[in-house]
Every structure is written in structure tokens, then in C-alpha cells.
């Protein structure tokens, strides 16, 4: 193409084919949508799980933390250390209930059947929530243990043991309930199970002087309960376990 030709066509308007343009745009949009659907991102799943956790759950946990902290600091010189630890233990157990209730919402509301068919399926979604709530609960336990340490004359790591062992046992019982009754789990069964745990805990810590047991026993209980809880969680993570059974 020489300069003359270029000069001649410089001001020529090339008419666009609007129909074809729109077709190309539509095909492009379709391709973008397809790519979105095929894209796999655990980070996005993590963010979605966080985004759609009910605000009520976070507020409940935060309120529990504040109330327990307020209660502990008010009881500084008035009550024995054991009673403070017992109260914090009950608070931790309730915290576990609220988080696990949120974790199992898919089952207690009957949404599990639909969620099992989504791109990020029920197993992936539940495990992500377990990670979020597990970390949140551990942070809560750490906070309360730090507050307790300033109030009672017990070493920090000992307080952690006193709190983590009942927490682990609570999780073991509730996760076992879930495994047995998964597709038939209802709020009623969940809260009955939770009530029994609270009752059992109160009876145990009042009937037996568990805090007088040596730290070594608490250490063993912590190790065993953690290993058992880990085994239950690993079992829950198996893909085959998430297939429906009727």
C-alpha cells in the first residue's frame, strides 16, 4: 500500500457490522462466565464462607467473650480460682455449641442435599467453615486464658489445658453425633445433645475434683482428646463419607 492509497482511504469510514460486533461481545461474555465457573479457588470459598456466616454468630461469640471477661474480672478476689476456671469452661463449651451449630446449619435446615450439588460441595464448604470456626474458637480460648492468667494464680499453659480438654471432648461428642445422624440431623437433636454435654460437664466438675488431678493427667487427656478429635475430623474429610444415605 503506497502513500497515495493511504491518503485516499485515510478519511474513509469503515462501517462496523453491529450485529457481528454484538455477537462477538456476547461470545466473549459467555467465555468469561465459563471461565469463572471452571475456575477453582479455595481462597474464594474461604471468603464466601466468612461472608455468609451469620452476623448473629459472631456477635454471640463476641458477647460471650465480653461477658465472661467481665465476669472473671469482677470475681478477682471474691471466688476461688477453681470456680473461675469452671465458669470459663462452661463459656468455652457454649462457644463451641454456637460455632458447631453454625457449622452444621446445612444439615439442621435440610440444605445439605442442594449444597452437595454445588461447585464447592458440602464437604469443601463444611471443612472451610470448620477451619474458620476452629481458629476463632482457639483465639477465644487464648483470650480467656490470658484474662484468667491475670486473675488466678495458675500458669497460663495449665489454664489452656483446663480449657482445651473439655473443648475437645465437646467437639468429639458433637462431631460424633453428626457422623451418626448426618442426613437426619435437626436443631432439636443438636441442642438436646448439647444440653446433655453441659449437664455432664457440670456433674463431672462438681462431683469429681478434676482440677486437683496432676497436670500430667491433664496433659495426657489433652493429647488423647486431640488425637481422637483429629481422627474424627480426618474421617469427616473423607469424600465417601459425604454421600447421602437414606
Amino acid at each position: 500500500m503506497d502513500n497515495n492509497t493511504i491518503k485516499k482511504i485515510a478519511h474513509d469510514e469503515i462501517k462496523a457490522d453491529d450485529v457481528q460486533m454484538q455477537l462477538v461481545i456476547d461470545l466473549g461474555k459467555q467465555k468469561i462466565n465459563q471461565n469463572h465457573l471452571l475456575r477453582y479457588s479455595l481462597f474464594n470459598l474461604f471468603c464466601s464462607s466468612l461472608r455468609f456466616t451469620r452476623i448473629r454468630t459472631w456477635l454471640t461469640q463476641f458477647s460471650l467473650l465480653l461477658l465472661t471477661a467481665f465476669f472473671i474480672t469482677k470475681m478477682i478476689s471474691k471466688e476461688p480460682s477453681v470456680l473461675i476456671i469452671q465458669c470459663v469452661t462452661i463459656a468455652i463449651i457454649f462457644s463451641a455449641f454456637f460455632f458447631i451449630n453454625e457449622l452444621f446449619q446445612s444439615f439442621t435446615t435440610g440444605m445439605w442435599e442442594l449444597e452437595q450439588t454445588l461447585k464447592y460441595d458440602l464437604r469443601q464448604h463444611t471443612m472451610t467453615k470448620l477451619l474458620i470456626f476452629g481458629v476463632a474458637d482457639l483465639c477465644l480460648i487464648l483470650c480467656l486464658a490470658l484474662i484468667c492468667q491475670g486473675v488466678v494464680s495458675i500458669p497460663f499453659w495449665q489454664i489452656i489445658l483446663y480449657l482445651l480438654v473439655p473443648f475437645n471432648i465437646t467437639c468429639i461428642v458433637l462431631f460424633s453425633l453428626f457422623t451418626i445422624w448426618r442426613n437426619n440431623l435437626t436443631s432439636f437433636i443438636f441442642w438436646i445433645g448439647s444440653g446433655l454435654i453441659v449437664m455432664g460437664t457440670v456433674i463431672l466438675i462438681n462431683a469429681f475434683n478434676v482440677y486437683e488431678l496432676g497436670v500430667a493427667y491433664w496433659g495426657i487427656a489433652f493429647t488423647l482428646s486431640t488425637v481422637f478429635l483429629g481422627a474424627i475430623v480426618m474421617e469427616m474429610m473423607k469424600t465417601k463419607k459425604w454421600e447421602a444415605y437414606y
Partner: protein
């Protein structure tokens, strides 16, 4: 694009819910017709991956859906028979939640959710909590969530339950407009729902795929088996006991009966053109006690 089931069987202890079911589907609308307990929901649960079959394979574009479950779920839309929801979620929040779990980008999800809520007539109540929705509204929400990811395979288990006639017409139009280049399978007891929109009907009876084909072809299989006759009211009870009645219409001291019978049921009976409802009664006559 195709979805194929080969020799799929599902059994629970002594009960065989699905017995050696095989079929191949290409893009189109398919109606699954069957009585209660015929295996429709079991079939849908197997196709959607909720339930594992005892034997047989389910493939999508020649790939086993179980081996490739992540990819298949990306192109699947499913409305379960017992559609559940999070009661404290609003309609819009629920749709955004499902969109997030279907891997749809946030901005696109908002636009798509609004579009679908408008299509199903829920745009005015999108910010209302689902627990305050009527049964029909909940069902429409269920249909909308199934379509968020513009699925290639759309499975709807009894989608028109709780919908009034106007909503059922809207649903039929929605499916018809959606179904180009998609595989849509829907089950229903309301025969008219599939009569107008289904390209093909699959008849499932006690876990066995008894027949399949366009409704006009299936109806032809019972041509000559549908009769109309007038009876005196004092003979009505006997006729009801002896024959499979599709419809009865009282006219003074006589009743016009529409009867499904291989043989002529009465001397004055006339053969009439069968309908899909007659076909349903013919196939599931044992459940009707005939």
C-alpha cells in the same frame, strides 16, 4: 453435549429403587413421569451426585460424573424435591450465597441474581426473609437458584408444586426459553406441566424405565384404550369398581365416564382420543387399584 445412564441400579437392602435404567439425553426438555415411589427422586439424586448408584454409570459428555464431579457440578443446576433454605436469609442473600458456592464472580452474581429474581417474579420481595415467603414464592426461589450458573444440565424435581396456574405458565415459558442447547429434566405429577414443553417424556414405573418418546407418540400407544360412556347413576358405583376411570362428569341423573380399558367397557362406550393424563393412569393403574 449428552448425558447418559447405563444400567443404573440402586438398591437398599431388599428394595430396588431403580432397576437397570439406561437412557441417553441430548439437549432438550425431558419430562419424567412416574407415580409416588417410582424412583424419580432417586434417579435425580444419582444424576446430581447426591446419591451413589449400586451399579451402572452416569456420564456427561462421555466422562463419568463421579470421576469428574467438580467439573460436572460446575455445569449442573438442581432443584431438590424438598427444597430447603436458610430461614433468616433474604431471597437476594440466598441467591448470592448459592452463586458464591457455584463459583460465580461477585459482580456478575449480583446482576444474575437480580435478573433471575425478576424472571420468577420475586424482585419485589428479594429483601424479605425467606421464612416469610409463601409456598409458591419459595418454590420460585428454588427454581431461580437452580439456574444461576446457566447450567448445561438442569434437574428439577417437582418444580411446580405450590405454584398457581399463572405461575405454572410463567415457569413453562421460562423453561422453554432457557432450554436451548441445555438438557432439562423435570419430574412432575401434574401432567399438563410437561405436556406442552417436554420434547420427550420418560415413563418410570417401579424403578424401571417403561417407555420414552414424544408425548404424541406415547399417547398413540394407548389409542383404542380410552372410552367415554354414559351410565345411570345407580350403576355408577359398579362401574367405578370394575374399571379405571379417568374422569367423571355428572349430568342430571346420568354420569359421563371416561374409562381406560383394553376392552370395550360398556355397549354404548365410544372410543375417544387419549390424553397424557390417560397415559399416566394407564401406566400407573396398579397404584390406582386396577
Amino acid at each position: 453435549m449428552e448425558l447418559e445412564l447405563k444400567n443404573v441400579t440402586k438398591s437398599y437392602d431388599d428394595i430396588i429403587a431403580l432397576n437397570n435404567v439406561s437412557f441417553r439425553l441430548v439437549p432438550g426438555v425431558y419430562g419424567l413421569l412416574g407415580s409416588n415411589g417410582s424412583g424419580k427422586t432417586t434417579l435425580f439424586r444419582i444424576i446430581s451426585g447426591v446419591l451413589k448408584q449400586t451399579t451402572g454409570t452416569v456420564t456427561h459428555n462421555r466422562e463419568d460424573i463421579r470421576a469428574n464431579s467438580d467439573a460436572f457440578r460446575s455445569v449442573l443446576g438442581f432443584l431438590p424435591q424438598d427444597f430447603s433454605y436458610y430461614p433468616d436469609f433474604t431471597g437476594m442473600k440466598f441467591m448470592l450465597y448459592i452463586a458464591a458456592l457455584k463459583g460465580i464472580n461477585k459482580n456478575l452474581a449480583k446482576k444474575r441474581c437480580l435478573e433471575l429474581l425478576t424472571l420468577v417474579g420475586l424482585e419485589d420481595v428479594k429483601n424479605k426473609k425467606i421464612k416469610k415467603y409463601s409456598g409458591g414464592m419459595k418454590q420460585r426461589l428454588g427454581i431461580a437458584q437452580a439456574m444461576i450458573n446457566d447450567p448445561e444440565v438442569l434437574i428439577l424435581d417437582e418444580p411446580t408444586v405450590g405454584l398457581d396456574p399463572k405461575e405454572r405458565v410463567r415457569f413453562r415459558n421460562l423453561i422453554s426459553s432457557f432450554s436451548k442447547n441445555k438438557i432439562v429434566i423435570l419430574s412432575t405429577h401434574i401432567v399438563s406441566d410437561i405436556e406442552y414443553i417436554a420434547d420427550e417424556i420418560l415413563v418410570l414405573n417401579k424403578g424401571i424405565l417403561e417407555n420414552r418418546g414424544p408425548s404424541s407418540v406415547l399417547i398413540e400407544t394407548i389409542r383404542g384404550y380410552v372410552w367415554e360412556t354414559e351410565v345411570e347413576n345407580d350403576k355408577l358405583d359398579q362401574m367405578l369398581m370394575d374399571h379405571l376411570i379417568s374422569n367423571q362428569k355428572h349430568e342430571g341423573n346420568r354420569t359421563v365416564l371416561r374409562i381406560i380399558s383394553i376392552e370395550k367397557p360398556a355397549p354404548n362406550a365410544k372410543q375417544v382420543h387419549p390424553t397424557l393424563e390417560d397415559l399416566y393412569l394407564y401406566y400407573f393403574r396398579e397404584e390406582a387399584g386396577r
